[in-house]
Amino acid sequence: MAAALAIGIGSERGDDAAGLAVVRALAGRLPPGAVATELHGDPTALLERWRGAAAVVLVDAVRGCGPPGSLHRFDASREPIPAPAGPGTHSLGFAAAIELGRSLDELPARLVAIGIEGAEFALGGALSAPVAAAIEPAAAAVLAELMAG
């Protein structure tokens, strides 16, 4: 298990693929001992994915945090990441999966989430221009987090 782990979260639905694009952009640039991986499915799989890692950086598309393409940093090891209020859903979302990890005392010592504000989420759609332009800055931010860890 890598000491530092970047996990890109997303699906091929327009800007929802931003997290995947960021970890793909990290290929060949990771510091020694760090690994980048993608997560497409069940959010609770995070708990297994990050087992043994001391520092984990999640990167995912977000909504409602700012203008499209803007980057947002959340220190999830200190406090819950802000999730949409209101009704629960049938499956646990990523914010709930992180809180489940906190309840089970299974959070990595350092857990940072980088959010990229998305604009368009159409099935099979490409990244929107502001999000495509944010991939490299987001990759640099993830690298900086991995090296700081």
Partner: protein
Amino acid sequence: MAEARDPAGDGARRRTIRTDYLARVEGEGAMQVEVEDGQVTDVRLEIFEPPRFFEAFLRGRAFSEAPDITARICGICPVAYQMSSARAMEDALGVEVGGPLRDLRRLIYCGEWVESHALHVFMLHAPDFLGYEGVVDMAADHPQVVRDALEIKKTGNAIIELLGGREVHPINVRVGGFYKLPSRAALARLRERLLRARELAQEAVRWTARLEFPEFERDVEMVSLSQPGEYPIDRGRLVSNRGLDIAASEFDLHIVEEHVEHSNALHARLRERGAYLAGPPARYSLCSAELSEMATAAAAEAGLDGECRNPFRSIVVRAVEVLYALDEAVRLIDAYEPPDAPAAEVEPRAGVGHGWTEAPRGMLYHRYELDEQGTILEARIVPPTSQNQKSIEEDLLGVVREAIELPEEELQLRCEQAIRNYDPCISCATHFLDVRIERR
């Protein structure tokens, strides 16, 4: 929210209790209960999530597209949609999928039962019985239960990933069979995981049996697929405890769907007798004799006596079905002999086809009409939550009648729990819940 009022000015005592959002269900809806002078006068499950028009999307598409298009209706039970649509298309096209291909379909379906039920039992429903707001709170006090549940769920996902190509919205199912067959080595690796999950599931049944269940039973017509010699998953006739015994092609003769003003999901009822119950308690009550030895022993130890009439005990039935599905998956892998081809040959032709299978929440019916090129002319999909709406309302009526003296907050929670007994998938039915109890 509770309020006592007398809008009619006739001195009658009317009360309103309202929960704006019922969590831990899929989709958007509301519930309203009206109580006047201590008597329940009206119960309505309101589904206001907008219609999704999947049936209209399907018109003009090729028959071969139906499994992948309909799988998008639900992120929790995509396999059920793929299976019912494939079965209906095969019926229309005169194709029979048997032998190892059928066993592989049953295997991927077992995966969906495991992941869907494990999610519902432990993440969504168990917090009701233990007084937690959700699984995150529950996990702090019951960490091992939640860890085991996650392991069980993950094993279900692993089955779907192996057979379906990926764990969410699998892409490997086609009319006639599969695109690609799993390797023996991959099935052998999966089998090892299944054995571990099966042990955890045995303990999970015991754990659910120790929960406290409200005393409540309702005399209801229960319907389930039934196939001699096997617990119903992927085929069978539709039978009930009141004499129903029909083929899929007879669906419309016996079941009618009605629009009701307070719901965007159609209400289904039996033409002859009205509301009916589909899903795990019905399957168990009608077909428990077909469970595997291991599942039967676990059910008996859990105090289920071959029938489940208390909807609150459906959590135990789901746990038994998780165990069964894992046990059945092991059996299917042990018996597997690779078929010659990953799919049967399918030639388009004009026709009408019907297909139904047992989704985790109950029977899911599809009907398609095709033209000579195999283009879809008409599509019809009747999901289990739509079928159970009337039954949910009748449960609520009974629950409120029996628990009317409970403090407001407890009664409200009891109602929400009664809805979650059904693991309702409102997005499938249409189509969250905002719970209101009005006492007048």
